[in-house]
């Protein structure tokens, strides 16, 4: 159970990115976060694992307030939250397998990880995760030799190495073509359905929201505009979320 209460983020220079946002997510739920670019979707997701420090509000997860966690506690919380990014955020000069293994950094001994030593079972797990996303044969390649879709699979494998209870996906398919987009979304769906991992996924395309999400929340200018099942987003709601000029595509 994730509960976000009165979350507010003000960036330096008095930029209000999130304005008193409250919602909750059930375990095992697939939540879509929609809204225009700059509406605060990324900030919201990053507040949850405190890559962005919230200005105000509470984020309670499994009974712990993430916003009040100390530095050590935060690292232990973060390792249970996988994250997938729009631009994949792989270390492009490192090998695919190293990128995947970096998902274990929160678990392994820090000293040994500095000399790139990982326990055997982590190595096996990395191979298994690559197998799950279907790119085992790419393990020894450098990450920048892979195509966009393959890189995003590596990103998912990395997140899965954390044995996460929650995955934050920040527009995971925005830099991919529609076919690849569906295949990546299916991986996330698989993780959500079969591993019971809660997924918070920001998306641009409403049809993807309809197809994959259990529930959707919408942000406009940092304010929560909508919280409900994707089917409830009719034309009127749509114009409310995206502005009067918006037209539905796809």
């Amino acid at each position: 159970m994730l509960e976000v209460k009165n979350l507010t983020k003000i960036y330096p220079g008095d930029v209000l990115a999130l304005d008193d946002v409250s919602f909750s997510v059930e375990p095992g739920e697939f939540l879509a976060v929609i809204g225009l670019s700059g509406s605060g979707k990324s900030t919201l997701l990053r507040c949850i694992n405190r890559l962005v420090e919230p200005t105000d509000g509470e984020i309670t997860w499994n009974g712990v307030d993430i916003t009040q966690a100390s530095q050590d506690e935060l690292l232990r919380i973060r390792r249970k939250i996988g994250m997938v990014f729009q631009h994949f955020n792989l270390v492009t000069r490192s090998k695919v397998i190293t990128n995947v293994l970096s998902g274990r950094l929160g678990y392994v001994n820090a000293m040994l990880s500095l000399i790139n030593r990982f326990p055997k079972k982590d190595m096996q797990m990395a191979i298994a995760q690559l197998e799950r996303v279907g790119i085992t044969d790419q393990a020894q390649k450098r990450a920048d030799e892979l195509s966009g879709g393959q890189q995003q699979r590596v990103g998912i494998a990395r997140a899965m190495m954390q044995e996460p209870e929650m995955i934050l996906a920040d527009e995971p398919v925005a830099s991919l073509d529609p076919v690849l987009a569906h295949s990546i979304m299916q991986h996330l769906e698989d993780i959500n359905r079969n591993d019971g991992v809660m997924v918070l996924c920001s998306l641009h395309f409403i049809d993807l929201v309809h197809r994959y999400a259990d529930r959707a929340i919408a942000l406009n200018d940092g304010k929560l505009m909508f919280d409900g099942p994707p089917q409830a987003i009719d034309d009127a709601r749509f114009k409310e979320i995206y502005g009067k000029e918006a037209e539905r595509v796809g």
């Binding site: 100390s70 973060r78 249970k80 996988g82 270390v91 392994v108 040994l112």
Partner: protein, 607 residues
């Protein structure tokens, strides 16, 4: 006012004013730099210029075996009474004729030579009765083997007997070989290249860690509450003191027992094995959820023990290398420098072990203090934290200021405990206490940014001092020679590369950084997995570039006593031996040009 400035007349006045200002500035510049075109046209200077340029165009690289041909003619100075006797000439070989056949001191005479080997040359000398040789001039014979020069006779005491004018023709025979100058230049240019290599390597080793401390994007992330900062500040000096003391104790103990070769060799093997086992067994592969106080205590004691054993092993290795280096230096013969290398490495390890121990202990106690402080400010009551802060911040402030006071005292020898210790410590304590009262005890302070600022300032300060000036200090410390030059260049390299490297860290793509942080990795792991892979190519590129610069710098660092080819160049310039200087300059040009080529070739591979 603005309208007034926009008036066309006003603009004209400003333009004219600007032009006048520029003229005045350049006029002053001409005056202070002694610009004088009269000297440029001066004929005497032009002759000298020609001479030097010609000498420079003939670098002293090759030499030949020479055969000499001495041709004499008797000459009266001044003319004897009754005129000079006719000089008989043997026209079968080479001969010279002086006309007039006798003359007074400082008279001008014409000296002609015939039958010399074509296109040879050499000096024409006046040999006095007493055996002195006075050069009258130089000759070069033409295709027929003849020459004709005019010369001014020396101002000598009149002597009745005939003296001698001798033309010495010199001719190159056989294959060219390297001149002694060329050999010396080669030796020195090798010294120069390796001086630059060592300076670059040592500089880079220090610059890499510093570059992370001087990178704003990494350091501004690091924030700690006041308790944590204060305890860290107190932990560091205490740790340094403890580490250095313990290491020094072990060191003096080591010196007394590590003279036995077999003992040292066995010791190295045994102890490294023991340490390896201890490390593998005590360090957990995975970090468990929460560990109890007792297991923490056990681990803490274990770490200290490993540290002490580590110091012993470092000393063992150092003495082992000293013994080994000493033993192999002679048997290796021409490769004896390897023995010296091992010996010097051992010696530097022996010297640096206390430094390592101090730094590691300082770091350990510092981070322990930091964690303790973090824990305290996280878990204790607001008021309690504030109270603790009041004490520890005051102590930390006092320690910091007392340290500054001690440094000032060392430089200026004030020798007044009141002014160098008591007052600074009191000021620091007050500062710490005031800071406590001002800030919320739980609020993380941007300590990383402060460290960044201090390191940047220091780097910029060091960087602004030219190595040519730094070397003066090192020459006093380690004596004139390439070692002083290498140290000066290394210090400058630390600052220059530290800045360049840190700028690379600042310009990395933030995406991977964010991704690795999101996995729950700590600061150091994040740097290892997200930053380092991104900065390796530019680091190598800048490293090569710096080596290139250091080679260029080391060619002149000898001017200030830093060894290398600069020393030779300076010597030859002072001795007015421009041909030797030209050889050195040629060597520099070749090395710099090829370094430029090599470094850009290597850089291209990595970028």
């Amino acid at each position: 006012m603005r309208e007034f400035l926009k008036h066309p007349a006003m603009r004209w006045i400003m333009i004219v004013g600007a032009i006048v200002l520029v003229v005045v500035v350049y006029a002053f510049g001409f005056s202070v730099t002694d610009v004088s075109f009269e000297t440029v046209r001066d004929e005497q200077r032009l002759t000298q210029l020609t001479r030097i340029l010609r000498a420079l165009a003939h670098p002293d690289i090759f030499e030949y075996d020479k055969v000499e041909q001495n041709i004499d003619v008797a000459f009266h100075l001044p003319c004897p009474e009754g005129g000079a006797a006719a000089v008989s000439v043997d026209a079968r070989g080479a001969y010279i004729i002086v006309s007039p056949a006798c003359a007074g001191p400082e008279d001008i005479v014409t000296i002609e030579g015939f039958g010399f080997t074509p296109e040879t040359g050499g000096p024409v000398n006046f040999l006095t009765q007493s055996g002195a040789t006075l050069q009258l001039g130089n000759f070069t014979s033409d295709e027929q083997g003849s020459f004709s020069i005019t010369a001014k006779l020396p101002n000598r005491q009149p002597i009745e007997e005939a003296q001698t004018i001798r033309a010495t023709g010199r001719q190159n025979v056989g294959a060219p070989r390297f001149s002694p100058t060329a050999k010396l230049v080669f030796e020195k240019i090798v010294e120069t290249v390796f001086l630059a290599l060592l300076a670059t390597t040592f500089g880079a080793v220090l610059a890499v860690p510093l570059s992370f401390l001087a990178a704003q994007n990494i350091m501004s992330e690091i924030k700690s509450p006041l308790t944590s900062i204060s305890l860290t500040l107190l932990g560091w000096p205490l740790g340094i003191f403890l580490g250095a003391t313990v290491a020094a104790q072990i060191g003096s103990f080591a010196e007394s027992i590590f003279s036995d070769t077999a003992f040292v060799i066995n010791g190295v093997a045994l102890w490294s094995l023991a340490i390896g086992l201890a490390t593998v067994t005590t360090i957990p592969r995975e970090t468990e959820q929460v560990s109890g106080v007792s297991s923490r205590l056990v681990r803490g004691v274990g770490t200290v023990l490993i540290g002490i054993v580590g110091i012993v092993v470092l000393y063992l290795v150092a003495y082992g290398m000293l013994l080994l280096g000493d033993a192999i230096a002679d048997p290796l013969g021409p490769l004896g420098f390897l023995g010296n290398f091992v010996y010097q490495l051992g010696d530097s390890l022996r010297m640096l072990t206390p430094v390592f121990a101090a730094l590691i202990a300082g770091g350990a106690l510092g981070s322990f203090g930091g964690r303790l402080g973090q824990r305290a400010s996280d878990q204790l009551e607001y008021r309690t934290v504030k109270l603790i802060n009041l004490v520890v911040a005051a102590l930390a402030g006092a320690a910091l200021f007392a340290l500054v006071g001690a440094v000032v005292d060392w430089f200026y020898q004030i020798l007044d405990i009141m002014r160098t210790f008591v007052i600074p410590a009191a000021l620091g304590a007050i500062g710490g206490a005031l800071l406590t009262l001002r800030v919320d005890p739980r609020q993380p302070l941007p300590i990383g940014y402060w460290i960044y600022f201090v390191i940047r300032t220091i780097l910029n300060g060091i960087r602004s001092v030219e190595p040519l000036i730094m070397v003066i200090v090192f020459v006093v410390w380690v004596g004139i020679g390439p070692f002083a030059g290498a140290l000066a260049l290394a210090l400058h390299t630390v600052a220059a590369l530290g800045k360049l490297f840190s700028e690379q860290v600042e310009s990395i793509s933030p995406g991977p950084l964010e991704a690795v942080q999101a996995t729950g990795a700590n600061q150091v792991q994040t740097i290892r997995y997200a930053v380092i892979p991104q900065v390796v190519p530019p680091y190598i590129s800048f490293l090569m570039y710096r080596w290139d610069i250091n080679v260029r710098m080391s060619t002149i660092i000898g001017f200030a006593g830093g060894g290398g080819i600069g020393f030779l160049l300076q010597q030859n310039i002072r001795l007015l031996d421009y041909r030797a200087a030209a050889a050195a300059m040629l060597a520099i040009a070749i090395v710099v040009a090829s370094m430029d080529y090599i470094s850009s070739a290597i850089r291209q591979r990595f970028v």
